[in-house]
């Protein structure tokens, strides 16, 4: 199982937390495709708090967090 957490405008029309069945080799690119989010809309893509490349496989039980371009304080 992979937990995907969505933030800011990605929550519009979607749940804020979505679970995906794990299979070997599943990548970030496949996950956002399933969510209907384009790569260029994503500013921060982290897996368990760490940066990952879109085509790197994600491990089982991981938490994926996705943010559009957001701000500072």
């Amino acid at each position: 199982m992979i937990k995907v957490k969505l933030f800011a405008t990605f929550r519009n029309g979607r749940e804020k937390e979505i679970h995906f069945e794990y299979y070997e080799g599943i990548t970030g690119r496949e996950i956002i495709e399933k969510l209907g989010i384009k790569e260029e809309e994503v500013a921060i893509f982290i897996v368990n708090g760490r940066d990952k490349k879109w085509d790197e496989p994600i491990e089982d039980e991981a938490t994926v967090s996705l943010f559009p371009p957001v701000g500072g304080g």
């Binding site: 800011a8 500013a43 982290i46 940066d51 943010f67 371009p69 957001v70 701000g71 500072g72 304080g73």
Partner: protein
């Protein structure tokens, strides 16, 4: 003379004397304006060993050359003084409308000297400047004092004032303007209080002057376009305000929880920008000519509509105190604005008191009469203690001194999460190495807005850096600190820098002022300003050994969450930083560097 008003108002409160002076344009070329120029003037006039709350300290309220012009976010002013909280140079910055109004009344800065023998306020209506009795305003909350002055001077007037915290010389008192905007940090409000100066009300009717009006129009609309098209300044900040950071920072495992004992919370979403927008947001609350409009206007539980909390505040009164109730935080924020307290220092000082209590240093007997607890997570406590702190009542009197002095009084200064006695803001540096170096070397003590490394290390702007590595971080910190010094000196908002780069500021400055800066000379001015501030601190007796972080952050690994296992590696970064700054290994700027920068 363009951009600048060309005039300085010097007000001696002891002598009740008001003088008009010309701005030294040669100095302005070197130190730009605002933060830089005011620091230079301050250093030329004030002994760095001055006692911050004595009449010999001065307080400068300064705008920059772009303040009050058509440049987006050009409403900023800066307060320069010797800071009571840190003993360093005090340098606090605020938005709203006051700065622009001061410029349109015809002044680049006001220099306050001495001390009035009873409470006064200053009224400025273009050329008419008066020192007035403020005994009827003394003791009033910020909104009460502001209302009274606005009723008297009209709704177009702009008011800067202190609340009861500043009057009572709290070392974490802010200077407030336009009700809910704050020159917040380092206790600058106490300096105003020590001078018996309650408020400044200003009304101006003069138009800004431009070196090249056509070129300014072109450049300004190009920059507004860039700001609108950038994801952060065009979408993220306008929609959610700075509060959007709560989830981002938490997901990276660097949201300090319970006085930095942890760095991740399952409950963070309850105090996030997303929740604030959904549940309590009424409207946006922009500063002067700001297309970003990150400011919030929110509804309190009792129905009152007031200025809303920033990210830092949501964290300081929230996760750092173990609290996840957005209504309670909004209310604590409201009381900070009313009493005139810095929200970061106020919230984190309560968090430190909570850890002191948890560890058995603060005893029940000490706080029994106050009627509030110091239990992490106690919602009533953050509101109750904020008011007590603002009024310096009961145990609130101790809190008003800030977390360092509080923890020191119990023999455990290491429980204060501060640098140079100023409380750290809302990012655990153990998981952002560059940002930690920034905390350690900030000229005003623990602070995130001297060189916001969160931008490249977390947000990926202007490019993404690995937050755990050390490579190149010292260089980045230096450039960010220098650029920030430029932005603060020009009189625009730091948040424009998500969308704009050094070249953009060059174009804005040259179009407005008719100068011929380029990226190198502008950044060199930033470096000159940064080095000058450093010199002040050294002369004021701040040992470079104070360029450090609390032991907890250097020694105890983050216990859980996405940044688990990391400590901050300051000792590996600092020598490199000194080297590229042209400071000796002892952290003191070398003669050669001072000459090169012609400080």
């Amino acid at each position: 003379m363009f951009g600048y008003a060309g005039k300085v108002l010097r007000i001696n409160l002891t002598e009740k004397q008001i003088k008009l002076e010309d701005l030294d344009m040669n100095l302005a070329r070197k130190y730009l304006g605002g933060r830089g120029l005011a620091t230079k003037i301050f250093m030329d006039e004030v002994d760095p060993n001055v006692e911050p709350l004595s009449p010999e300290n001065k307080l400068i309220v300064a705008s920059g050359p772009l303040t009050g012009t058509t440049v987006p976010t050009g409403g900023r002013y800066m307060v320069i003084t010797k800071a009571p909280l840190t003993g360093t140079i005090g340098c606090s910055n605020s938005g709203g409308y006051f700065g622009a109004e001061l410029k349109s009344a015809g002044y680049d800065m006001i220099i306050f000297e001495g001390k009035a023998d009873s409470p006064v306020y200053i009224s400025i209506e273009d050329d008419k400047v008066e020192i007035k009795d403020a005994s009827h305003l003394w003791g009033k909350l910020v909104s009460e004092a502001t209302d009274e002055l606005m009723n008297k001077y009209g709704q177009k007037a702009r008011v800067l004032c202190i609340g009861p915290a500043g009057e009572r010389l709290s070392k974490i008192a802010a200077i407030m303007n336009d009700y809910d905007r704050a020159a917040g940090r380092s206790g600058v409000g106490a300096v105003m209080g020590s001078k018996n100066l309650k408020a400044v009300v200003v009304k101006g009717s003069k138009k800004a002057k431009y070196a090249d009006e056509e070129e300014t129009k072109k450049v300004v609309s190009d920059k507004i376009k860039k700001i609108r098209e950038n994801g952060i300044t065009g979408e993220g900040l306008p929609t959610y305000g700075t509060a959007v950071l709560v989830n981002i920072i938490n997901e990276h495992g660097i949201l300090p929880v319970k006085n930095f004992q942890k760095a991740y919370s399952e409950d963070a979403d309850k105090i996030s920008g997303e929740t604030m927008t959904r549940d309590i947001l009424v409207r946006r609350n922009p500063c002067y000519r700001c297309p970003i409009a990150c400011g919030r206007w929110v509804k309190l539980k009792d129905g009152r509509e007031v200025g809303g909390p920033e990210y830092e505040t949501l964290w300081a009164f929230g996760a750092d105190c173990g609290i996840y109730d957005i209504d309670a935080i909004a209310e604590a924020n409201f009381w900070c604005n009313e009493y005139g307290l810095d929200t970061i220092s106020a919230g984190t000082t309560i968090a430190a008191a909570m850890e002191l209590y948890e560890k058995g240093y603060v005893k029940d007997e000490e706080i029994e009469e106050d009627g509030y607890s110091f239990k992490f997570g106690d919602v009533e406590a953050i509101i109750g203690w904020t008011k007590k702190m603002g009024a310096r009542e009961g145990f609130g009197d101790k809190l008003a001194e800030g977390s360092y002095r509080l923890c020191e009084s119990y023999g455990v200064p290491e429980l204060s999460m501060s640098v140079k006695k100023q409380e750290l803001p809302a990012y655990d540096p153990r998981g952002v190495q560059g940002h930690g170096l920034e905390y350690a070397t900030s000229n005003r003590g623990g602070c995130h807005v001297r060189g916001y490394m969160i931008s490249p290390e977390i947000l990926g702007s202007p490019e993404k850096l690995d937050r755990f590595t050390l490579e190149g971080k010292a260089e980045w910190v230096k450039v960010f600190q220098d650029l920030t010094a430029v932005i603060d000196s020009l009189g625009v908002c730091l948040f424009t820098s998500f969308a704009l780069g050094a070249q953009d500021y060059v174009e804005l400055m040259n179009a407005v002022s008719g100068t011929d800066y380029n990226v190198d000379t502008l950044l060199e001015a930033g470096s000159r300003i940064y080095t000058l501030e450093r010199l002040f601190n050294i002369k004021a007796g701040i040992d470079p050994k104070e360029d450090k972080l609390p032991d907890r952050l250097l020694e105890e690994p983050i216990p859980e969450g996405p940044s688990k296992g990391h400590v901050h590696r300051l000792s590996e970064l600092l020598p490199k930083y000194y080297e590229i700054r042209g400071w000796g290994r002892d952290g003191i700027p070398t003669e050669e560097t001072l000459q090169k920068l012609s400080v």
